[in-house]
Structures are given as C-alpha cells and as structure tokens.
C-alpha cells in the first residue's frame, strides 16, 4: 500500500525548509519500509503553519504543521501518513481549518491543492473552462462579462477592468498587447507570487482570455527579478501550455493566437507603475510617462495595451467559467468579488486571506491574524503597501471596501496588511516612507525627486526637536505638494503614510520638541 504526501514548494515553504523535509521523509520512509509518494503542491498560503505537510485520506487531506526536521522522527513514529493520528502537530482536515474555511477562495480555489505545473491537476480543478467558454464568445461578450462581474484592478488603483478592456477593444491597431504587471513590490505582499508559483496556468488562462477579448495576440508578464522561482515556474508552464495547444498559435484549434513571454525587471519599485513598466518592457529606463495618452490607447511600443495586475487577470477564468454574476455576488457596494489579503508584519497568523469585500479590518487582523505575534498591543497597521496610510485603532472597524477605505483617507491597494505593535515609533515610520520614496523615485517629476529627499531631512529635524512646529507645517506643505504635484502614485501617495502618521500618531513627532515650543 502507498500513501501520498503533499509537501509545499513555494518560496516561503522552501525558505522554511520544505525541500529538506522532502529528503528527510524519503530517507525515513525507506528505513521504515513504507511506500510514501511525495508530491509537491504549492502552498495553502497559511504561512504560520508552514511547512504544512498534508496527507491524502478518503476524508480529505489531513495536515501537520509547522513541521521542522526534528519533528520527522515523531511523525514517522505516529505513522502520520495515515492522516488522522495523534501528534502534537496534527491539524486535522486542512480544509476544515477555520482560517481557510472562513475564506472565500474564488481566485485561490486551487491554491495548495495542485501540483503547480500539472496540466492534469489544473484541468481536474476547473482549469481552462473559462478559456473554453471564452473561445465560444465574441470579444464584446467577454468584455461584457468582465464588466458585469464588477472586477476592479487588483494592483491597487481599483479601476474597472472591463472598462479598460473595452477601451483597448475599441482601439484599432495592427497590434495590441496584454501586459501583466507582476512586479509585486509592495512590502508585505505575496499574492501575485502565489499565483505564479502555485497556479501559473490560471494566469496564462486569464491573459489568454484577455487577449481574445481585446484582440491582442501577444502578452508579456513583467516579473520582478526577485522572484526566480516564479520565473522558472511560469516559463515551464508557458512551454507546457504551448505544447498542449493551449497557448501560442491556433489555441485549442480555434484559429486564435496568443503568444506569451515572461520579461524580468531589474529591481526598480517604480516599474510596478504601469507606464514605467511599459518603458522598461520596451527596453528603456523605467521612467513614468505622463497620461494621457492612456496605455489602453498608446501603450507598449505605442500600441493599445491592457496592463493588468496578476490578481486581476487571475480572477478572469473564474468569471468566464462561473459567470459574471457568480463573481459579482460576493462583495459590497462597488467592490465586487473578493480581494486576497496578505497578512504580514507583527502578526500571529500570517498568510493569504481571500475574502469577499465587506468584513472589517479588525476581523481580518484579529480573527484571521490572531493579533500580534509577540502578544503586545497592536498600535498601527499599514494597508496597501508602502504608499498606504497607517490606520490607528479608531479606524480598524472600517469595512474592507475600496470606498470605505477612501473615506478615511486610506487605500486597500493590493491587499497587503502590515501590523505594528505598540513599540513602533511612527516618526521613524514616516521617515521610512519618505526614505522609500528617495530610494525608489524615478526622478522624473520634481515633487517626488526633490521632495522625498527634503521630506527625510525635515522629518529628521522634527524628530531631533528642531523648530518642530515650523517643520511640521513645512512637512505638511511638502505632503500637499507631493500629493497634488506628483506625476504618478509614487510621489502622489508617499504622503499618505506620512500624513496619517502625523494625524493619528502626532505624539511620536514631538517627543524631542522643547517644552517652550509645545507650550506655544
């Protein structure tokens, strides 16, 4: 008799030793004379449980985690491959874990359940059904479906995806392009990487559907170079999809073509901005372009181009397969469907939490995240990456909804949630925001190029207690200048974390102000 063991293979699990576990399991299995068939799944995205080993049972997959090398002997002793055994790391049925069960995994339905590169696995889990459906539809019908689903850009700007596609569909050109923004550079985010490392065909399928929808025959995935495993996985997946007739010329005998290539970035955060990304993709220096013209009309190599985030494109196969209504059924207000949140920072239970829009930030941080990892009081949380606002406790009941967040001056962005306990110095965090802008500004527009450097200097003066009031006013002016004057979101949003820190955590800025100044 043989048993199947699933050992995760994404970058995080491997960083936590999953590869070593595989060899350990194989050695011990041989010694124990038990036939264990080890498969490499992606990851469930439950990082606090990684490495999370799963075993197949008739009732479903039983999980053990987090597993260290030192746990293998006891796991073998308890014959863990049988699933429901008594062991301190036994988690029971993985899909019954509340953390997972309470999510609405539409996009990430396959996450951790399949071998990332197995076309059979992908097909067995509803893969390519969206594409097959799309091949039967007119381009306008595909665009209509995406519009009706209410899908909005998951990269952060939340622009309605269907409207963007409509613009590109309506543009006439000898060549159009689908560009996937996979330059996932926001601190605390990893959802794009999980798509690419654990379910790459979903992205390929989504991009192909986009190509069919707008009449583009060439796609590019602009991938950050810090994701070498995603690069390998995507390239293997593209190769296999082409061999299987799912990509390239004459897709599934339909007569339609869609070619796809992965291009690596060179380590610039700004290249996650869509126009800088296009410049970089064209082989130029990553500099932001002024808009208009919109990339949808004048994009890559001057041609109409869909530029979508990985998560936007990854949501498309579900929408085509299950129908726009099935997707739009989830969410609240104008935020339809789900957003894969990524819990990070000082959090007890970090990982991927795909939720329909609607629950509060507090629920996400406490009911999923379980509060801080070190048990200290949570003080601030930054949502939406390094350009997102810091939210104080008074705002934690804000619903996870684009509009609700905008109302409190915050953004959901790409869904990254980074938590800070009560030891955080928000003056230092504000400085970091400006410093991040110094490091990552492309240097094109003045407010961002010079403003960020001055921002660091002014914050340093404030924190050192130099003319605190005057400098706070200057900082406030500077934030307005960057906000109103910057060419793109890099400089335009850098003030968000700074302003929110000043507003909600003002006490951290005046620690060294002289008493006289405070009096005044």
């Amino acid at each position: 008799m043989s048993w199947t063991i699933h050992v995760p293979s994404d970058t995080t699990a491997r960083a936590l030793g999953s590869d070593r576990l595989v060899s350990g399991i194989q050695v011990l299995a041989r010694e124990a004379g038990v036939e264990l068939h080890v498969r490499r799944n992606g990851t469930r995205g439950l990082y606090w449980l990684e490495p999370l080993i799963e075993v197949d049972t008739p009732n479903g997959r039983y999980g053990f985690g987090p597993v260290n090398d030192s746990d293998l002997d006891s796991l073998f002793a308890s014959e863990f491959w049988k699933g429901e055994v008594d062991h301190p790391l036994a988690l029971g049925l993985v899909e019954e874990l509340p953390y997972l069960k309470r999510q609405q995994r539409l996009t990430f339905a396959r996450l951790g359940r399949i071998d990332p590169l197995s076309l059979d696995d992908y097909r067995a889990h509803a893969g390519f059904r969206g594409l097959e459906k799309a091949l039967t539809l007119a381009p306008q019908a595909i665009v209509d479906a995406v519009k009706e689903s209410g899908l909005r850009g998951r990269g952060g700007a939340a622009f309605p995806t269907g409207i963007k596609w409509q613009t590109v569909l309506g543009a006439s050109a000898d060549q159009k392009y689908i560009v996937c923004n996979a330059d996932e550079g926001d601190s605390g985010t990893f959802a794009d990487r999980l798509v690419m490392e654990c379910d790459p065909y979903m992205l390929i399928e989504g991009m192909t559907i986009a190509g069919l929808a707008v009449g583009a025959t060439q796609g590019y995935i602009y991938l950050r170079s810090e994701y070498p495993q995603a690069f390998r996985t995507l390239n293997s997946a593209i190769e296999r999809a082409c061999e299987a007739g799912l990509l390239g010329a004459n897709i599934l005998g339909s007569g339609s073509d869609f070619h796809l290539e992965v291009r690596l970035g060179a380590g610039a955060y700004i290249c996650g901005e869509e126009t800088a990304l296009l410049e970089s993709l064209e082989g130029k220096r990553g500099m932001v372009r002024a808009k208009p013209p919109l990339p949808a009309l004048v994009g890559l190599f001057g041609r109409p181009t869909v530029v979508n985030n990985v998560l936007s494109l990854a949501a498309v196969p579900f929408i085509l397969d299950q129908g726009a209504a099935a997707y739009a059924e989830y969410g609240m207000g104008r935020s339809r469907g789900t957003l894969p949140f990524q819990l990070a920072g000082n959090v007890k239970q970090g990982g991927l939490v795909e939720l329909a829009f609607g629950p509060s930030l507090r629920e996400l941080m406490f009911e999923f995240g379980g509060g801080t990892r070190n048990g200290r009081a949570l003080r601030a949380v930054q949502v939406g990456g390094p350009l997102g606002a810091y939210l104080p406790e008074s705002q934690w009941d804000t619903a996870l909804d684009y509009e609700a967040f905008a109302k409190v001056g915050a953004v959901l962005g790409h869904g990254g949630v980074v938590m800070f306990d009560d030891t955080v110095d928000m003056g230092e965090q504000a400085r970091f925001s400006m410093e991040f802008c110094v490091a990552e500004s492309c240097g094109k527009c003045t407010p961002c190029r010079i403003g960020s450097t001055r921002g660091v200097e002014v914050i340093d003066r404030i924190r050192a207690g130099e003319q605190v009031e005057a400098n706070l006013e200057l900082l406030s002016d500077l934030c307005d200048t960057m906000l109103n004057g910057s060419l793109c979101a890099m400089g335009g949003m850098t003030p968000f974390p700074v302003q929110s820190a000043m507003k909600h955590f003002g006490e951290d800025f005046v620690k060294n102000a002289s008493a006289a100044e405070l009096e005044a």
Partner: protein, 961 residues
C-alpha cells in the same frame, strides 16, 4: 464678448515665443475657455499651448515647443472644471467646452512650493551666473513669487557637481541642472543622436553624455540642441560665459551647407555672441549643426584679409593699397589683356558661397563689362549634372520638394549622399522620419552613419562599387518595369509616351537586370530586387542624392536615371516623394539659378535663346554672345595653352577644390592676372595678382537659395572688415571697366533679377520680409512660391524618360592602381575648410586621413596611424591611415578639408560627359607605407611659407591708409 483665436485673422506665430508644446495639425477645431477667455484651437493642442495662443502664460520649466510634452516639472499645473486635482497643462489635451483656470490660490501655492524645492538644490549665485538675465528658472522663481526656502540649504544637494568643459563651444555645469531632461529629449527627438541620457534615479538623477564619459568623448555631435533647450545655465555657450548675454539679434541664413538654416545672430553691438537657430526658419525649424551653430569664429579670425592688395608677380610680396588703386590696377590689367589677346581671353567664376545678388552681379559683369560668356561657378564641380539631368527629364534644374516633405515619405532611397555629415539638419529630420517607421535604402560604397540611426525600423544597404551608379539605378528600374511595379496611370497622364516606350524597351533588356549588373555593382541581385520593390511599393517614396551621384563620368546619366525611377513609380508632384539633390554649398542652387554657367542666363535661359537673350541685351544695354563661353576646366586648359590670360574669382578656392591640383596650379601660374576676392588668403590667392578682401555672410545683405529652392534673407549684422560688401566690389570693378552699375542695395539687384527671370518674377525683399522665405518658382501663378514642384504639370509639359546606358568609367582598378579612392566630407569640417579650420571644429578633425579596409591594410602591412603614400596617374600624396570597415575591400576613402592633404593632387581630370563635373568619386590608386611627405606636399609647404611671408610683409610694410 468672446474673443476667439482665429488663425485667419491672427496667422502670425510668434517665433520668439515658446508655446510650450508642439502645434497640433488637426483640422478639427475645439473651443474652450481659459481664465474666462474663449479660444478656438485645433484638436490635440495642449492646454498649455492653447493658453499661450491666447497670450496667457502658464509657468513651465520642462516644456518647450519643439519637444514632446514630458510633464516632469509640474509647474504648469492648472485646474479644470469638473476634474480632480491639478493636471499638468503640457500633457493635458484640450477638449470641447473645457473650462481651465491657470491662476488660483491653490495653484499659486503648489507652484511656489515646487519652486521652493527646486531652489533648495540650486546655487544662489544668480548675479555671477552666465544665464543671469536669460534663465527660465530665475524667471519662474519670480513668476511664482518665491520668497523663502524653508528647507534651508544644508540638505543634500548637487552644488558640488563637476563641470564638463570638454566641448570647445559649451560648458556643462551639473550644479545648475534641474533635471528637466530638455537636453536629453532634444538630443533624442530633435537631433536623433541619443548621446545624452539620465543616469541614476531619484534625487541622484543626472545628465550623462554617452556612458558618462564627457561630452567630447561621447557620441555627441555638438549640434547645440541641448544647449538651446536648457532652461538654466547648465548648458551654456562658452561665448556667453565669456561675453555675457547678447542685447539684440538679427535673423539671417547660415552660410555653410545647402540646407540653409535660419539663425538668430545674437549680438552685443557689432560683436557676435552666439548663433541660435531660428524657430521660424522653414528649412530648419530651430535646429542646427555644429558648423552653423558654433563655427562662426572664422569671421573675426586674425587671418581675415582686411586691406586690398596687389602685386605684379606671384613671386613678389603683396602691396597693400586703397580700394580704388586695387580696382584700378585690376581693371587696367584686364583691359590690357583683352587688348592684346582678345575679348575672350578673360573670364570669371561666381561663388556658391556668396549671395544670389553677388553671383548675379559677377556673371553680369562678365557678360557686359568683360563682353563674353566666360563665366562659371563651383557648381561645375558639384551639382552641374543635377542641373542638366533634371532639366532634361523633368524640365527644371532643381529638386522637387521641401525638406519637410520627408516627413510624409514611407520609403527613402539615399544614393551617394551622407546627410548626417554633410547636411546634418536635414539628416536629423530624415532620422526622425526613419524612427517613425519609414524604410531606408542606402546605395553607397560606404556604410554611412544613417544606417546606424537609432531606432531605425527597416534598412537596406546596397554597397555598390564606386563608378557603378548607373548600373545600379538601371537595375532598380529594370525590376520595377519587369515586375509590373510601374505607376502606369501616372506615366500615361504625365509622361511623354514615345520617350517612355523607348526607355522601357531599353531598361527591360536583360543586360540591365540586377543579376547581369551584379558583376558591375558588386551588390547581390536579390538585395537589389528587394530594394526596388520596397521603393516601388511604398505609398510615398522619395530619393535623396548627393555628390556621390553627380561627381562621376556618368553623373548626368545617373541623375536622369534617378528621375526615371521617380517617374516610373509616380513619385513626383506631391508631398513625401520626389527627387531631391542635397546641395553642397549654401548657395549652389542660387549661383546656378543666377546664370553663372557659360551657356545659361539667369533662370536657366539658354544664351542661344534669342528671345531671352534679347531681354537681357535690352536691359543691360549690351550685345551678349549667343555661344556659350568657357567652363572652368576649359579655362584651365586655355590658360595653359596661352589663350586665356586673366580671371576674376569671387569666393571659390579652385586651387584646393578642383581636381588634379598640379594641373590647376599650372593653369593658375600661367595667368597674367588673377583677381581673387576672398575672406582669407586661400590656396588660389597664392597665385593671385590682386587680392580683394571679401565679406563674410555676417557682413552683408542679400539672399541665399537652399537645396529646396528656398530664397532666404541674409542680413548684415556687422560691418565688413574691409568696408565693402562683395557686391559693392564687383560693382566698383564694373564701373572701373566702364560698364556702369549703380546699385544702392542688394534689393535693387533682386528687383532686376525678378524683372528678367520668369521663375523669380514674384520675388522681392518686401515679400521676403512678409513671408520669411519663398521657394521659386515664385511668380504670378505661384505668388507665395512653390514648395512642391510638378504638381500638375512639368515645365516641359510631359516629363521625358531618358535612356541611361551604363558606360564604365575609364578610371578603373588596374594592376598598378588596384584600389578605388572615393572622397567625401565629414560633419565638423566644411569643404575646403577655409572657415572651419579656423574654428574649434579642429578638435574633431585636425587632419584628413585615408580610410582603408582591414583586408587591404593587412595585405600592405599597414597599421592604424601609419603614413601612407597614395598614388594615382595624376599625382602622389601622403596621408595617415585609418583602418575602417565602413569601406568595402578594394575601396579607400578620404576627405579634402585640409589643403596640405592634397586629396585633389590624386584625383584626375576625368569628368561628366555632359557637364564636365569632375569624377572626384572614382580614382584608381595604390597605397603603400612611407616615411615622408610627398614631393607635392613639400612644394606646397614651401609655397605656403613663402606666400604667407609675402602677406605678412605686406601688412607690416605698408600703411593701408
């Protein structure tokens, strides 16, 4: 009341205003409101430009109206009703009904705060800064009301950024840079060289030339576009740094190549501070090259001839004399020679460097006071085949297009021309079109720089052997005819059928096929077929050619073959097509137009044409010979044989520029009287008896006509160094010879030209003031001139195909002379170099070298930098070797910018069968390593020393007053 901007009422674009962004060419008009003023502008116009058109100035730094909008400085933010935020007006296009506000409290605060950021990283040395008084940053600080810099000046900054002084004409001061990228964009978008880039990112962003190697060592061609674009003192002309800001300016026309760029000569009193390309110039639209922009120092060079001089023999020192004495001396000699040797024993050469009026006057002097037709011009040695070939086929001796026409071309065929070196401003325009996607075909023995145009989309090189142009052009035509690529409708409607049928039968013969011609051209037949198809199948295909076409024994045949190609494919008579000779000198078109040739009166009216000649005879009050006079080579031969005894040469250095130097020198030595009018003691003047100081283009009024037939005004910005403009000197000589001339101003000469020359009938100085420039024909039918020729019909009714039989030149590679030498120009030097060698342009090209292919070099044991003896059947000279793969094996190349190089000692007296244009482009030579200069070079050196001493002794010995 609503005030509309109506282009019909208000057609004048103020070329001294910066509208911020480029004009939109849309036909559709949009009405919007800016600060409550309604304005109508073409769709696609930016809000910034629309505002400027309504005389509303929006602050800006990174925008300028010859570059694409960039949107980086953010000063030009505006508020638009119904829109969020403060969008940049440079990148925001107008929309119907838009309401824009350019001055609000919020905008004022934003702009002031942005300026505060700029100034927090800028040296506060305005009073000692070279841009003081002409600094956009300073202006903007004033405009936004910046009163304090709260950030202080202790923060991170670039105040210690180093200066780059490597370029001789301008300095890059990194401490003043605001990183607006105008220089980078100008280098890319306007010049097309892409030498500049931004290095680093964020606050560390800085401008870098090449791989951050300094301007001089980078690919920079010193065109000056970056200097012009810079809104601060970062890129400043060294002349401004040393002299300060100019106080007035005069628009005039460059005197270098045939592009004829318009410049603002920016002056302090009578001192020229800098030349800035004029945006209103139709030929250059505000662009320039290193020569016109910077190389004007020759005009005030110490070598200028400032006083008239005479001598009895060329072995004597010069004697400085008054104008009257010099002119009297010359007139007496001329009359004495004519008395002794006959009316035909004297003649003259008009200058393609001087104005139309001056060329006209010299030929008039010859046909009236001299009483013969012995007039010729330097076009003889460059574009005379163009005049002949195009007149035969199209009926007019001129290019058919404007330069701007190239922006509509889909396929550009360049034959025997090197525009990026020899016509750089047109080269930049062409490169722009190539970047936009037009395909390029280059037929040239060398791999010219155009083939390395950045972002070129499709290019073919046909590396033909020197001397095989006709074979190539015929092979191209053969493919067009035999593959059914002709434009039969055009041919039926516009071309003479009999001539067409005769040509067609000839060209379709198999002996003209690419396959048959491959042995002659050395170019793969399939490549030729592809090129022919690309040319014929393009919607708009244009041909540009240069001296690589004309300076051959079959120069005229090739020109006709080129016309055949255009006619066969219907590529004549509209924008984007045509036959375009790239003229070498500033006024070579004009000097030809002005009747400089011995057989033609002004306007290409043949001397044998009784009606035309009659008009001139009546106007001039003389009898004009109905037989053509002597051409330059005939003059030389006649001089050597003793019949031709005196010459008046205005502004041409025949001793250096004409082929077979030793023959020319012999002819010049044979003359009894050589009168040279020039700004320097040039090579010809060393053989002269009378030396009349010439005036530079800065010192006179007149007109030049460029390669697109554009008549442009030349305006005097400083007094002539010797007190007289060139036309005044000719007039004095005429009067001394007894033929009265009494012009008070060149405009009177132009009026006479207009009265006698049908194609110039509508030209006047008043009209030139009104329209800026005029392209001839300009007459009652085309009162504002003719940008495109042959739109409806040809001057000869129907165009005539010409049979162009290939006849190989007698100059061919032999066992004794196994290599073919071809000659050309480079960017930084100009022709004989008399001007550019007296400027800092020397840093780029201080000597002529012989380019030789590595294969030929290795065979002869030649290394880079070796001295090479070059021998032809005509002579021998010595140049330094440069190993280069731009040449094909078997072909060597040199330039002729330095007289002591003796490039023309080697060239032969072979010439075009129709026009005697010398065959400069093919000379069979042998090269070998040597250790010393040639005999000719030694003699040259000795003569140079001696003649310079004669000049020096003259200036020190005699008081000119």
């Amino acid at each position: 009341m609503l005030q509309y901007f109506d282009p019909k009422v208000n057609p004048v674009v103020d070329h001294n205003r910066d509208y911020g962004t480029k004009p939109s060419l849309s036909e559709k008009q949009v009405v919007l409101e800016i600060d409550g003023i309604a304005i109508q502008v073409p769709e696609g116009t930016s809000v910034m430009r629309a505002a400027a058109m309504a005389d509303i100035t929006i602050p800006k730094l990174c925008a300028t109206d010859n570059l694409d909008a960039y949107g980086s400085c953010r000063l030009c933010a505006v508020q638009i009703e119904g829109r969020r935020g403060m969008p940049a007006s440079c990148t925001t296009p107008v929309e119907q009904g838009m309401k824009v506000w350019t001055q609000t409290d919020a905008l004022a605060k934003l702009r002031r705060n942005i300026m505060e950021l700029y100034i927090s990283d800028h040296p506060l040395d305005c009073l000692t800064c070279p841009a003081n008084g002409n600094c956009e940053l300073q202006d903007m600080a004033g405009a936004v009301g910046l009163r304090e810099v709260r950030y202080g000046f202790e923060g991170e900054n670039h105040l210690e950024a180093p200066k780059d002084t490597s370029n001789p004409y301008f300095t890059f001061d990194g401490s003043k840079c605001i990183v607006c990228s105008r220089c980078v964009r100008a280098c890319s978008e306007v010049q097309g060289t892409f030498a500049l880039t931004l290095d680093g990112r964020g606050f560390a962003s800085k401008i870098a030339a090449g791989q951050d190697e300094g301007f001089l060592d980078s690919e920079c061609v010193s065109c000056g576009a970056c200097v012009q674009a810079c809104p601060t003192a970062t890129l400043t002309e060294n002349s401004v740094i040393s002299m300060g800001q100019p106080e007035h300016s005069v628009v005039t026309t460059c005197a270098y190549c045939g592009v004829g760029c318009s410049f603002k000569a920016e002056m302090k009193g009578d001192k020229l501070v800098r030349m800035v390309p004029f945006k209103g110039g139709e030929a250059n639209h505000g662009h320039s090259c290193v020569k016109g922009r910077f190389a004007f120092g020759y005009a005030t060079h110490k070598d200028r001839i400032r006083v008239p001089m005479i001598r009895d023999s060329i072995d004597q020192p010069w004697k400085e004399v008054s104008w009257d004495e010099a002119i009297g001396f010359a007139a007496n000699r001329l009359r004495a020679i004519q008395a002794e040797h006959g009316r035909e024993s004297i003649g003259g050469i008009t200058s393609s460097r001087c104005t139309n009026e001056e060329a006209y006057l010299v030929q008039k002097l010859i046909r009236t006071a001299f009483g013969n037709n012995n007039t010729d011009t330097c076009a003889r040695v460059c574009h005379s085949p163009t005049g002949y070939g195009l007149k035969q086929t199209l009926g007019e001796s001129a290019g058919t297009q404007t330069f701007d026409s190239v922006l509509k071309a889909d396929c550009v065929l360049v034959i025997g021309a090197n525009p990026t070196d020899a016509h750089p401003v047109f080269g930049s325009l062409l490169r722009r079109r190539l970047r936009e996607g037009a395909s390029l075909i280059v037929a040239d023995p060398r791999h010219i720089d155009l083939l390395d145009t950045p972002h070129l989309t499709s290019a073919m090189h046909l590396p033909l052997r020197p001397g095989s142009n006709v074979a190539m052009v015929n092979a191209l035509a053969h493919v067009i005819v035999t593959e059914g690529l002709e434009d039969l409708d055009f041919i039926r409607e516009r071309c003479d059928n009999a001539a067409y049928q005769q040509w067609r039968a000839f060209i379709a013969e198999e002996r003209n096929s690419p396959e048959q011609m491959e042995a002659v051209t050395g170019v793969n037949a399939e490549l030729v077929r592809q090129a022919a198809r690309a040319y014929a199948n393009a919607n708009n295909a244009a041909i540009y050619y240069g001296l690589g076409v004309t300076e051959h024994s079959q120069g005229s045949t090739t020109v006709m073959g080129i016309a055949n190609l255009a006619l066969a494919t219907g590529n004549i008579g509209r924008d984007g097509v045509g036959v375009n000779p790239l003229r070498g000198q500033n006024n070579v078109q004009g000097s030809c137009d002005m009747g400089s040739f011995p057989h033609e009166l002004p306007g290409y009216q043949h001397v044998a044409d009784d009606v035309a000649r009659g008009r001139f005879e009546q106007a001039w009050g003389v009898t004009i010979d109905h037989e053509p006079g002597l051409r330059i080579p005939n003059m030389f031969n006649a001089a050597i044989s003793g019949q031709f005894r005196a010459m008046y040469v205005q502004g041409e250095d025949i001793a250096q520029s004409d082929p077979n130097t030793q023959h020319v020198e012999q002819a010049l030595r044979s003359l009894d009287c050589l009168i040279v009018q020039d700004i320097f003691l040039n090579e010809t003047a060393k053989f002269a008896h009378v030396l009349l100081p010439g005036s530079s283009f800065l010192e006179k009024n007149g007109t030049f006509t460029n390669a697109e037939r554009r008549i442009n005004r030349v305006r005097k910005v400083m007094p002539p160094v010797a007190g007289k403009e060139d036309w005044e000197v000719t007039q004095m000589l005429s009067n001394a010879l007894g033929y009265a001339m009494n012009y008070q101003h060149p405009s009177e000469i132009m009026a006479e030209i207009a009265s006698l020359t049908p194609s110039f009938a509508g030209v006047s100085y008043e009209k030139l003031e009104e329209f800026g420039s005029l392209q001839w024909p300009c007459n009652d039918e085309n009162p504002q001139g003719s940008p495109i020729m042959h739109v409806e019909s040809f001057p000869i009714g129907q165009a005539r195909f010409a049979v162009t039989e290939f006849v190989a030149t007698t100059e061919r590679a032999t066992r004794r002379f196994p290599l073919l030498l071809t000659t050309g120009r480079i960017l930084s030097q100009y022709n004989v170099g008399a001007q550019t060698r007296r400027t800092e342009n020397q840093v780029w090209h201080s000597e002529d070298v012989l380019e030789i292919h590595p294969h030929d070099a290795e065979e002869r044991g030649v290394k880079d930098g070796d001295w090479l003896g070059i021998s032809s059947r005509a002579g021998h000279t010595v140049l330094r070797a440069r190993i280069s793969e731009r040449m094909q094996p078997g072909v060597v190349y040199t330039t002729f910018h330095h007289p002591h190089s003796g490039a023309n000692v080697i060239t032969t007296d072979n010439s075009d069968w129709a026009t005697n244009c010398p065959e400069y482009k093919v000379t069979a030579v042998q090269v070998e390593r040597v250790t010393q200069p040639s005999e000719w070079q030694k003699n040259f050196h000795d003569n140079h020393q001696r003649q310079n001493k004669f000049l020096k002794d003259a200036t020190t010995a005699v008081d000119p007053s």
